[in-house]
Symmetry: C2
Subunit: 389 residues, 2 copies
Amino acid sequence: MGVAIGDQILDLAAAAALLADLPGEIVQACAAPQLNPLMALGPRASAALRLALSRGLSAERGDQKLRRHLTPMANAELLLPVAIGDFTDFYASVFHATNVGRMLRPENPLVPNYKYVPVAYHSRASSVRVSGTAVKRPQGQRKPANETVPSYGPSRNLDFELELGFYIGVPSDLGTTIPVGKAAEHVFGFCLLNDWSARDVQGWEYQPLGPFLGKNFATTVSPWVVTQEALAPFRVPAFARPQGDPAPLPYLDDPVDRAQGGFDIAVDACLSSEKMRAAGAAPLCITKSSFQTTYWTVAQMVAHHASNGCNLMTGDLFGSGTVSGPEKGSQGCLLEITARGKEPVVLPGGEQRAFIEDGDEIIFRAYAEKPGYPRIGFGECRAVVLPAG
Amino acid sequence: MGVAIGDQILDLAAAAALLADLPGEIVQACAAPQLNPLMALGPRASAALRLALSRGLSAERGDQKLRRHLTPMANAELLLPVAIGDFTDFYASVFHATNVGRMLRPENPLVPNYKYVPVAYHSRASSVRVSGTAVKRPQGQRKPANETVPSYGPSRNLDFELELGFYIGVPSDLGTTIPVGKAAEHVFGFCLLNDWSARDVQGWEYQPLGPFLGKNFATTVSPWVVTQEALAPFRVPAFARPQGDPAPLPYLDDPVDRAQGGFDIAVDACLSSEKMRAAGAAPLCITKSSFQTTYWTVAQMVAHHASNGCNLMTGDLFGSGTVSGPEKGSQGCLLEITARGKEPVVLPGGEQRAFIEDGDEIIFRAYAEKPGYPRIGFGECRAVVLPAG
């Protein structure tokens, strides 16, 4: 495991062993191949580690023994940082839910439960891969409206979904709930997440039990996990529910969460086609959104997940759902950006994109910044799409 | 790990070490705490092990060294036999899908995709427990038709779903498909599975992304896994599609699967209330069904799951979906048996059940039998329901 320090990576096992005041269980957790043992120790342990590393690396102390364990990021191959247990994907952006709902049910875009239930579905853990791993275009059953029977073949409507992910650190027991005011203690940190979606497969299969093969062929996550503590300066009030919306039910309502349950995190998605790369063109940024606009907070998602006694495990991955804002230019997937393909994106060089084509690379970035604080970057979540077959 | 021999359990690690002709990798796999390493070796390895054990235990040879490693089942505590990766639940009974669909959409019970797509959803692996583990009644959001807003509280419509489960042995790689004719080679064996369902929670939450908290509070599986090989004599033709139904798409169609892709396995569910147990009454069998009647075969479910390149992992658990037959008395859940609570089951002693009440124990059994072959029992899958809170 490593800690990102500028454009360097600090070898965490070697560094932790040199930090004299660090409790033994933390040193031991830092020697593991993935983050799970450290995540299980809870937010105090990560805070103690962060403080010890920051002191050890500070210029005044100038600990050369620690600095010897820095490697240039450019020389490193980054791997999946967590052994993922179960993977749950939420639907927390009311703008995404409304935009997508409008395409399916123009008269009634939002289903009646949306403002009461932090809607989610179980997704597939086995096919989560780290940024940089190519994604093969999936095949599946597709039945366009103008055909009477479905056929099996490569998806024609491959899409990305721009999401934040977060990992469960401290587990909960089967049969117990997590009060919304305590939910943040179970969250270790955040990553970028691309919930690749084959819209044609999804559209045909998803009734009545939800998305399945339209989603589970691949999910890409960033290699870096930004701890919740590092994001503390960027906490903001929870999304302000429009007048007339119901209040959250009591088990999802907490004054502290209302006051600071949101995170001011900017997220964006870029596309780079094969032609663009060959011409040396930079990726085209096709959306800029903010995690601040999600209808449900992280704490509400965690509390809801455990509200029936479902046990959460160290290493569980939660996706936020597509982070779409209210304006044009802030929509988190091509389905929304292109209005189901009707308004294609024009790329530098003149190519058009209704959906993702083979050879396209999708790149997500996120950051949090405000005056007086160091900027927090999330690294990248990127993958090239390969042809089916 | 142990092998069931009548009412005894053979210690598999000790026994395998005594079987001289067994390849080293099988002996080693038998020493693991769970079945995963053995499952990963594939059907030939399980067949070799089965043959060696059967020879070793046969009366003619009378190997006393082996017999020394038998323990009475009554003295054993049975644990979860597999480290479960992802858990996928199918919807393979057309009778169940039709019965449930009729309650929600009387004019059009089956959604248009049903006869083309082996519909499934991802479920929750962390809350799968072995038979005998009590299940706490879940709480959740419920909104009965006569209320205008939902409330949070104990489920009022707790149900069971009578299913067979099966475990993936040989894994598949991300980006590769599994031809339906090869799918059986990836299946290690079968168990009983209770997909506990909070119908009120499920009904309110399931649009548009499928069941979530209505299901993931608990799943119970039997401790024994019946290998596919042991069930070979009970293979039957796949369910005969009624005239007018479409043929399966080519990627789900295989002549051998058509001829013998089904399994003649009888499954039944019994209920025993606290009062019945206090009065010494036997559990009441409330349904008798057969796995023969499922619309989709095991091979079709496996091939479909991998048809988009989703990788299957050793230890993945698949549920068949509720096994309901066409007749009254063969319906696999209370929602169907009681017509949504309108026709309660009457228990010995006069109690009535629309749905499951606290203190009720649900017991599943399954077996395969035919003249000239030893009867194959699946053991039991049972659990008592405890009050919420």
